[in-house]
């Protein structure tokens, strides 16, 4: 179970240019991308917008699992 990424209420009007847009954070949902940027840079002005923030390793693992295709399950009855 991954830790959720949550933005502080007080930061929802903050405008940050990343991941192709610069919109108030309250109008975005791509917080995982911002979290990676924040953790890789250690930029305090980005880190402080998060109420909860997973580790960089958790974020990268989460992203990898989201990009992997769902493989069909192999039924045990098909075994010979």
């Amino acid at each position: 179970m991954f830790m959720l990424i949550k933005i502080k209420e007080s930061a929802k009007e903050k405008v940050i240019a990343y991941n192709g847009r610069a919109l108030p954070l309250g109008q975005r949902s791509d917080y995982a991308e911002l979290a990676v940027i924040a953790l890789e840079s250690g930029d305090t002005s980005l880190l402080e917008v998060f109420e909860t923030l997973p580790t960089l390793e958790e974020l990268k693992k989460q992203k990898l699992e989201q990009t992997l295709p769902d493989l069909p399950k192999i039924s045990s009855s098909n075994k010979k």
């Binding site: 903050k14 405008v15 940050i16 240019a17 990343y18 991941n19 192709g20 847009r21 610069a22 919109l23 911002l34 940027i37 924040a38 890789e40 840079s41 250690g42 930029d43 305090t44 002005s45 980005l46």
Partner: protein
């Protein structure tokens, strides 16, 4: 290896293009750029940019686009050294059409910025690459030695004939100890800050 760490220049083969596509100026104290920590391949490009505390779009903290004459903008640099001291002379040159009060006021603002704090510049090349010059804040801290870009050497003309160029050739330049860093995000994120 025993003295210094060299790197290959192993760009993936493919076409590129010359010229400048877009240009913005900004107050270098208004924006903080975000940069991941350097790794063995060297410094990383900027990956995000945001207004600094106290700077608001409503108050005038914006990326100001420059509508230059098409195909009349160029970014150049020249490297030189004396002993171990290395210098990069960065320069942006572009043409603005039509001598007018508008261009007079634009120059007054640029000259004041150059005198007081330097001019921040974002330039998108026709290759698609975006570069930043004159930035002062990175990862929420002041850059040790910033590049101060200033207007210096611009010229203008009314022309003589009806089809002569009427306008200004702007030169903004500054000396630094390194080349410019790239901004790796898509250009739309800069356009959104206009």
């Amino acid at each position: 290896m025993l003295c210094t760490t060299l790197r290959p220049y192993n760009r993936t083969c493919g076409p590129t293009s010359g010229g400048v596509a877009r240009l913005w100026i900004f107050d270098a104290d208004d924006f903080n750029f975000t940069q991941a920590a350097a790794d063995p391949s060297g410094a990383k490009p900027y990956s995000a940019v945001a207004l600094r505390p106290g700077a608001t779009a409503a108050g005038g903290a914006r990326m100001f686009p420059i509508k230059f004459e098409k195909d009349e903008a160029e970014y150049t640099f020249k490297q030189s050294r004396k002993g171990c001291s290395v210098k990069y002379e960065h320069q942006l040159e572009f043409k603005l059409a039509d001598l007018s009060q508008l261009i007079t006021n634009w120059n007054a603002a640029i000259d004041a910025a150059g005198c007081c704090c330097g001019i921040g510049i974002v330039v998108q090349l026709n290759s698609g690459k975006i570069f930043v010059a004159g930035e002062k804040w990175v990862n929420s801290a002041a850059i040790d030695i910033p590049l101060e870009m200033k207007q210096d050497g611009s010229s203008g003309t009314s022309g003589k004939l009806k089809d002569d160029f009427n306008g200004e050739t702007v030169i903004i330049k500054g000396d630094h100890m390194r080349k410019l860093y790239e901004y790796s995000d898509k250009v739309q994120s800069i356009i959104d800050l206009q």
